[in-house]
Amino acid sequence: MPTYVDVGLVFSLSLVIVSLYLLRRHSISSRSFLGWFLVGAGLALVFGVPTFLPTMQRFLGTQILLSSVVFAGAVFALSMIFYQQWKLSDSENKIRSLASEVALLRYRVDESSIPPREERRSQ
């Protein structure tokens, strides 16, 4: 019967392997690869080194092990939200900039496709 440690190790190693595979296939940016590789490696450390969590508990000064895990998880989740929010704002600006460019190009195309007044009269 596999324990949570086995499942965790398989999961973390899968993350590392899949991110390496996607990087090799150029299906993932190097920045995203680095992020997921670090997540996978970090989880492997948590599940693979039995003394890691108690050490972290002592370092954080919590009485219950679960509190340390929740705390670390919350810090990680908030950091990810902050990073994603930043990237989202950046992408939003780029999309709006492109939309503005598209509107201007469309306007210029429309303008150039209408023949000048004199030309239209002679037709």
Binding site: N93, R96, A99, S100, A103, L104, Y107
Partner: protein, 246 residues
């Protein structure tokens, strides 16, 4: 960006988002004031037929594919003014609150040498300039004007006014700066631009105007939610300008 050759003509820019009830009248009134004014409406992704109505009224229409916000509509207008080599650009709101006759007065200020002319509802002190606005919005405007005045070292009475005119050479420098440093939120666009103009050494001249109360719809720039955020945005705009040395 270089402007080569002679600049001539006057462009009147009307950014519009869901202003179907008023945009036709605004376009027609501008054209009645002078046939020399070339009216451009930037339709900011309206879904009520604003763009179509503006076109039928005789304006040239630039349609943003979806609602991008005022700053994008404005900068699209700046680009059109530069591309078409206009000498002056005047911007009025599509909600019909501005008096079209004030366009001539803004242009007179620009012809007198101002780089940017701004219509101020608080300059002559005849009325309180609220034009049916809430007290909160009114005081928010006065406070932000006071803060920006302190930041730029000149008296600005109505920093959020949407009735403005520019010499088009100024727009080139503004656009360069926006591209380099990015855009700020819509609600503080004019605050940021005022700071930027002063940093670039441009002259800003205010003239007294009166604003009519809005007859249709409600303000899109200052919804209740945006009003809550507004003080934070004013402070961040000032901090940003300090860090960038603006």
């Amino acid at each position: 960006m270089d402007i080569v050759g002679q600049l001539e003509g006057i462009m009147v820019l009307v950014p519009a988002y869901n202003e179907a009830a008023t945009v036709s009248d605004v376009v027609r009134h501008v054209q009645e004031v002078s046939r020399d004014y070339h009216v451009f409406v930037v339709d900011d992704g309206s879904d009520d037929g604003t763009g179509r109505l503006a076109k039928e009224s005789g304006a040239k229409v630039i349609t943003l594919p979806f609602h991008c916000g005022g700053r994008w509509a404005m900068t699209a207008g700046y680009r059109i003014a530069i591309l078409n080599r206009y000498k002056y650009l005047v911007k009025i709101d599509a909600d019909g609150q501005h008096r079209v006759s004030d366009v001539n007065r803004l242009l007179a200020k620009l012809a007198d040498g101002a780089d940017v002319a701004v219509g101020s509802r608080y300059l002559d002190g005849k009325d309180d300039g609220r034009a049916g606005d809430s007290r909160l919005r009114h005081w928010g405007r006065l406070l932000s004007s006071a803060l920006i005045s302190m930041a730029v070292g000149m008296r600005i009475t109505d920093v959020t006014s949407g009735l403005r005119g520019w010499r088009c050479e100024v727009l080139v420098e503004l656009l360069d700066n926006y591209e380099k440093h990015g855009y700020v939120e819509d609600s503080v666009f004019w605050l940021n631009e005022t700071i930027l103009l002063r940093r670039l050494g441009k002259t800003i001249s205010e003239l007294p105007v009166s604003i009519r109360p809005r007859l249709h719809g409600s303000s899109k720039s200052f919804t209740r939610l945006k009003m809550l955020n507004y003080p934070i945005r004013v402070v961040t705009t000032l901090l940003r300008s300090m860090f960038r040395g603006e």
